[in-house]
């Protein structure tokens, strides 16, 4: 056992010693004896010292000392330290859509897992499992979401900090196919915070079996957006049934029914501006519920989607009010953002497909739509639901950089960040004991006072 603030315990010990000393050296007024001629005695202070040692007083003293020590120990925040192991592992187990077979990831994790190790299961979010990790692995299921290794690394760092006193060194293992889509731009920075090497256990990555989307644009024949598509739309329409429909005008109930089929994407990308929901249909297609018309449209300099940035003086006439991320409904996602971070396009699940709303104006003048960057932007806007999956494994060089030099080995305990808050589970029990001691002391004192009153009455 160790104490996070041992000064309080030392102070409590000093106070308890003082209480014991005061208990045995009690200054009391000695017993008064009547004497009518007392006035002839010299006038000096009539005080004296008397020692009082009685069993009842000893019990009272013990209760007081226990009370002080319990409060001091609670303030000192005792922490029970388990026996420190030589090595503890933190396993980051991938369950995202990039994993081909979750059983392979589970088997790899079990091969490394020892009692006391921690498991971080991640897809787009990370969940830390410190107790009964084997049970969690037994029911691990593959998630349909994109994995985010940076979130898993952050969770691993925090877990290592919480386990700092449990082992002399820590090994971080990533059990994942390490697909391209899982490493965002923060992953390298977060990885640099881990002081040791990272063991990479690569499992088979899922293959992207989805066929290339067949995109149709439902609008005017001279719609500039047609020229930004990778293939000629007319040929695509003739070749196969469409999987992505770009609606450049108003939508109908048939469109909603169509998009409910699996793998279908309905892109609401009006040729003009959206109309407010309370206006007539003639004013243009109505805004979806998560969007609102800006009172004063402004001009923004660029838009970004899936790593592609298009710089142009876009007019921004709508604002997104829906939720994204962990708070959003399942399937809600921002597909493109303006340069200041505001959503420019967002998608929402609709049946088995999704409806993607795009508020990026397509310029009819100039050659912007003919530029490759705009084509990449259009490709991102016509990607399957959830964004384009990039399940190809990362390059070996990047994987080596992620693992770090093998000479670094596991991270030493001293290099792990000390946690800001260390739980001290004994504190509430100590405070409860202090309360019990205080109540006992009060009862004993009251009983002693009552006894002395009765004795005085009997003597009288």
């Amino acid at each position: 056992m160790s104490f996070l603030a041992p000064g309080f315990l030392i102070a409590a010990g000093a106070i308890a010693a003082a209480v014991v000393a005061l208990h045995f050296i009690v200054t009391r007024e000695p017993k008064m004896v009547p004497l009518p001629t007392a006035r002839f005695a010299p006038d000096r202070p009539a005080r004296g010292h008397a020692r009082a040692i009685q069993p009842r007083d000893l019990l009272l003293m013990l209760l007081r000392v226990a009370l002080i020590l319990a409060v001091g120990a609670a303030l000192a925040r005792p922490v029970l330290r388990p026996p420190r192991r030589a090595l503890a592992r933190i396993l980051l187990v991938d369950r995202s859509r990039a994993v081909a077979r979750e059983a392979e990831a589970v088997d790899s994790a079990r091969a490394l897992l020892s009692p006391g190790d921690a498991v971080v299961v991640f897809d787009r979010t990370a969940t830390v499992v410190r107790d009964d990790a084997g049970d969690t692995l037994a029911v691990l299921a593959r998630s349909p979401y994109r994995g985010r290794l940076s979130a898993a690394l952050i969770a691993g760092l925090r877990t290592a900090s919480a386990m700092r006193e449990a082992a002399d060194s820590f090994e971080l293992a990533i059990i994942s196919p390490l697909a391209e889509e899982e490493l965002d731009q923060a992953a390298d920075s977060v990885r640099a915070l881990w002081p040791g090497a990272v063991r990479l256990v690569r499992v088979a990555a899922a293959t992207d079996t989805a066929a290339a989307p067949v995109v149709v644009v439902e609008g005017a024949d001279d719609d500039p957006l047609r020229f930004a598509l990778p293939s000629h739309p007319a040929r695509a329409r003739d070749a196969a049934p469409p999987t992505v429909r770009i609606i450049r005008g108003a939508t109908s109930g048939a469109d909603s029914a169509w998009v409910r089929e699996p793998g279908r994407v309905l892109v609401l990308w009006p040729a003009g501006a959206f109309a407010p929901r309370d206006t007539g249909a003639h004013a243009g297609p109505a805004l979806p519920p998560s969007w609102s018309v800006r009172a004063a449209p402004d001009t923004v300099g660029a838009v970004s989607a899936n790593g592609t940035v298009v710089v142009a003086p876009f007019v921004r006439y709508a604002a997104y009010g829906g939720k994204t991320g962990d708070d959003a409904d399942a399937g809600a996602r921002v597909a493109a953002r303006w340069v200041d971070g505001e959503p420019a396009a967002a998608e929402a699940r609709h049946g088995a497909g999704c409806i993607r709303t795009v508020t990026i104006p397509v310029p009819s003048r100039g050659d912007l739509v003919l530029q490759p960057r705009f084509a990449r932007l259009v490709a991102a806007m016509t990607a399957p639901c959830g964004g384009a999956a990039s399940l190809a494994p990362i390059a070996e060089a990047r994987a080596a950089a992620l693992a770090g030099p093998a000479s670094r080995g596991p991270a030493a305990r001293a290099s792990i960040v000390v946690p800001d808050v260390t739980p001290a589970p004994l504190v509430p029990w100590l405070l409860a004991a202090a309360l019990a001691f205080a109540a006992g002391e009060l009862l004993l004192r009251r009983r002693a006072r009552g006894t002395s009153r009765v004795t005085a009455r009997e003597e009288a």
């Binding site: 009547p34 007392a38 010299p42």
Partner: protein, 292 residues
């Protein structure tokens, strides 16, 4: 109170007289020499007959022998109204376990009353306790001593009522005995007694002191005055010597001041037989005035 109710005290003082220290001026027949010269059968002197004398008082036998006309003189005897004032303040209830001071004071008061009553003097008692003055008027009739005894038995020492005002209320008595420890208003009481002596009254001061007051070494480390709780003094070895010296000086000064005022002062200590104290008080003391 065993010695009061047993009757041994009254038996012990039977036959003891308490003569007046001066010629009395009482109107009734008593045992004390009166100022008046009258018809007492006890011959005193002859005086030549003067015009206006009662011819019946002429001693004709003397005239027959000496042919001188003289009348026969004799002194009258009268009684002496006596009141015993007893201090029943809280300081007299000492020691608390035995009340020896109060018992001695009550016994001495009863003995003095019995002696005076036996001399056919009107005798009464005045008790000053916490409730104030309670007095039994001086009487000569039978049962007076029993009434005095009853009053003393009914008294519990308490309070700290000053004695001087009560003494002033006893001016009708020609002889007053004060039984007290004189720890209250001693100066005012002495002043009052001095005025009474100057007025021709006989004053007796019986100073009651407890043996524990004379030697308090066995009491305890701190003592307190039962009449004044603010007086709390240490009384250990170092303080005992000063206490003895201070208390002794006070007793000597008290005795000297009462005697100088013309009163009879007697010190009585608890443990002393009360009849011995009574005898000491009533025994005439040859003072300079008396011997002259």
């Amino acid at each position: 109170m065993q010695q009061l109710t047993s009757g041994a005290l009254l038996d012990a003082v039977r036959g003891v007289h308490w003569p007046a220290r001066r010629i009395t001026g009482g109107a009734f027949q008593g045992a004390h020499r009166s100022k008046r010269v009258g018809y007492s059968p006890e011959f005193t002197a002859y005086r030549p007959y003067q015009q206006g004398d009662d011819p019946a008082k002429i001693d004709w036998k003397l005239f027959g022998r000496t042919e001188r006309v003289a009348i026969r003189l004799s002194h009258d005897e009268s009684n002496l109204r006596t009141t015993v004032m007893v201090d029943a303040s809280a300081s007299m209830a000492y020691p608390p376990s035995t009340l020896a001071k109060w018992e001695l004071a009550a016994a001495v008061a009863l003995g003095l009353c019995a002696v005076a009553h036996a001399d056919t003097d009107p005798v009464g008692v005045a008790v000053v306790d916490g409730a104030g003055l309670r007095a039994l008027p001086a009487r000569t009739r039978r049962g007076t001593v029993a009434n005095v005894l009853r009053m003393l038995l009914d008294t519990t020492p308490s309070g700290s009522t000053p004695l001087a005002p009560s003494l002033g209320a006893l001016r009708s008595s020609r002889r007053i005995a004060i039984v007290s420890d004189f720890l209250g208003d001693a100066d005012a009481l002495l002043e009052q007694a001095r005025e009474m002596v100057a007025g021709g009254r006989e004053v007796y001061a019986v100073h009651i002191v407890a043996a524990e007051e004379l030697d308090p070494s066995a009491l305890g480390p701190v003592v307190t005055d039962p009449e004044d709780a603010t007086i709390r003094r240490p009384l250990e070895e170092r303080e005992l010597a000063e206490y003895h010296e201070s208390f002794g000086r006070w007793r000597e000064a008290l005795a000297a001041s009462w005697r100088a005022a013309g009163a009879v002062y007697q010190l009585a200590t608890t443990g002393e037989a009360p009849e011995r104290v009574v005898r000491r008080v009533v025994t005439p003391v040859l003072t300079a005035d008396a011997s002259a």
